[in-house]
Symmetry: C2
Subunit: 421 residues, 2 copies
């Protein structure tokens, strides 16, 4: 086994993303161009695009969502980067971070110094039921989908297993939703730039405007327990436990350490990068943790030479609220069975000891599948450079982590970042 160490330093010197949301008039290419343009503007000393030598794209299924394959060279051409090598990387919802990791590896190899990593997904073309079916292709189809599962059901199974073992109640999960919408409300790129409180008030105002009686919600908890306001999707998961269907794209520019100063004096170094795979959910003994996430996190910590205590913030894969709770334990921020209590106690809020998903997470920022892993790196870039505006966490962010999961954890990719001015 070779040494778990990057033989060559790699840093992010630019990062950008499109607005996340539903954009009927834009395709994946349009969205990627937006992300790419913001990335170029973010490079402190300016970017000559001819410096870019290679491109990796994270994309889950432009095939099924847009009936467009061979996406990487098309996007490279759309931003004028032909004839550099371009490759699409697919690992379901972890496609973005898997692409980021290929970029890191490509620079580590010495073959390239400057690598563009993008993520893109255009999902809202399809009717919602078809999106659910398309996302279901990320599972072990002949074994799981044939048995009637789709993703809300998978994560509901994880939630019930977790509840049974650790005594969590469904209400605990709402703390995650409330916190992530609080954060997303301060993120101008988020799909749902609104707190759940404001959402509720909007529903009341809309009812009154139509001359209907105001709904009898005395507070946000009433609202989240109301089957009409927050319908059950797959018990115990309700609508506000689920991330949305989203169009969006993201981009970061990676540069070999010795050339970083050509681009910026405020790079974000990638200190750790690790990935692991696992059998599909139907073939696992325990559902309360994702072994691939635990393994990827421990390898990333080892590569970076840091401990969970050292990490100031993390963007984790909250495709469902329960996924954030499990993630917060898999990355060893909290002990098994403690993650839901940490969320309840405000430990993972912006002002808490271990802020998680300051961007709003997949839950509120949105989850354009292949773009999400790279968008996590964009948030880390902004927080570490103190450019996150109203949602900036207090104090320094010297070290951060991203955690990106494919399907129910058949893939997990973890990165650790260091501010190195």
């Amino acid at each position: 086994m070779p040494i778990n160490k990057l033989p060559r330093g790699v840093a992010i010197v630019g990062a950008g993303m499109s607005k996340f949301g539903a954009f009927p008039d834009k395709n994946g290419r349009d969205l990627f161009v937006e992300a790419y343009k913001e990335m170029t503007r973010s490079v402190d000393k300016g970017l000559d695009p001819s410096a870019i030598e290679c491109f990796y794209l994270g994309n889950f299924s432009s095939d099924l969502f847009e009936r467009q394959g061979h996406t990487a060279p098309l996007l490279a051409d759309a931003v004028g980067l032909t004839p550099i090598p371009a490759a699409r990387v697919e690992n379901a919802c972890a496609s973005g971070a898997t692409a980021l990791r290929q970029g890191v590896i490509a620079i580590a190899s010495g073959l390239y110094d400057v690598v563009l990593v993008g993520g893109a997904e255009k999902m809202t073309n399809l009717p919602t039921a078809d999106v659910t079916d398309t996302l279901a292709t990320a599972a072990d189809v002949p074994f799981e989908i044939a048995a009637g599962f789709t993703f809300p059901g998978f994560y509901a199974a994880i939630a019930t297993a977790y509840m049974a073992r650790y005594g969590m109640k469904p209400e605990h999960l709402m703390n995650v939703a409330i916190k992530n919408h609080d954060n997303g409300a301060l993120n101008p790129k988020a799909q749902f730039g609104v707190t759940i409180q404001k959402w509720m008030e909007g529903r009341v105002a809309a009812a009154l405007k139509k001359g209907k009686p105001a709904p009898a919600w005395s507070d946000i908890w009433d609202f989240l327990h109301d089957d009409s306001a927050n319908p059950m999707v797959a018990w115990p998961l309700r609508l506000f436990d689920c991330s949305p269907i989203t169009d969006g794209a993201s981009a970061v520019l990676l540069v070999a350490e010795e050339r970083v100063r050509e681009f910026t004096d405020h790079p974000i170094r990638i200190l750790g990068s690790a990935q692991a795979s696992d059998a599909a959910l139907h073939d696992r003994a325990d559902l309360t943790s994702l072994p691939a996430a635990k393994l990827a996190a421990s390898r990333a910590y080892e590569m970076a030479g840091v401990t969970p205590k050292d990490i100031r913030i993390a963007e984790v894969h909250d495709c469902f609220t329960i996924a954030e709770v499990v993630a917060s334990e898999d990355i060893d921020f909290f002990a098994p069975g403690e993650g839901f209590k940490a969320a309840e106690d405000g430990m993972t809020a912006r002002e808490g000891a271990k802020p998680i998903n300051t961007s709003g997470g997949l839950k509120s920022k949105g989850h354009p599948v292949g773009a999400s892993g790279v968008a996590q790196a964009v948030e880390v870039w902004k927080q570490m450079r103190v450019e996150a505006g109203e949602r900036q966490v207090p104090g320094d962010v010297p070290l951060a982590m991203t955690h990106n999961v494919g399907a129910t954890g058949s893939t997990c990719v973890v990165h650790i970042y260091e501010r190195r001015d």
Copy 2:
């Protein structure tokens, strides 16, 4: 620009492939398991699977062909390789060689010593028209498919442009078909293990058996000009100018140079690896050559430090007969406009000066899209190790090349191999 040199040697120490063909009872996973098993058996000193550290899969669209995404970890799990990192790489018909290149880069980076590279595609589930539509997603869909193109049309446009410039006749292309079927007839893994001569004789025998009059073909040229035997697909391309729809999988094992002797004393070293992208066909000034192929080939030659004269054999991307003619020029085996004459003169036959597609090529061996690029490496492995049986080329094969194209050349990946006992 970093130096175009692999900082760490990489060699193939095992290679295998499934039978190529139409297998209604097998899915992509079954086929990959076959390829993987043959690869493990080919490792001279035996393979402990726990030595494998990382997996790249070339696959074009399991999404559309099988409604299965997230294919890499599923296949890794099917052969017992969980929890190693697994990633799918997609670049249309160049997915296989793009995956191979990621494997080379991963070892070059020093992060891994032993990397499995696979390719798989299960295409025959769908009706033929749907396969054509699925393959069409590899083009620039909003610009090209909306205008009515599918792939036979694209390559017909390339053929007509080439004919107009160089005076080639449609009959010249049949030399490529005849030669590749001659080779494929000697490849037990080929989808069409039969020469066109035998094919014709079979048609005559079948007619007589049914009590019908024997078709009036006096020779193979009559046969290939007969609209019922060899129907026009997209002028000037007939049925025998086109590669088939195929199910199949392939696998090679890559090892860092310093560990090669643990696995074999007869490794095949990867001396050059290069990739380039291009705009889609509709946006190019000239159709008689693929700029991405020329660039990838020249960079691979540069990395390997060899010239076209040094290369003994090549497996090139003959999705259509015209593609082989153009490829033989793009890799600089022949001057522009000379490729069709070289095929006519037998230069590219097994006994010729520059054998091309000794495996039968995509044309006769079959073209399971994502598997093809890796299967090219499997053929090179066999020829260089003098294990190609009846189709073995005469004399030594110290240097070989593979050339894998995505779509109409929006991607091209070229590798150069050296026998290093």
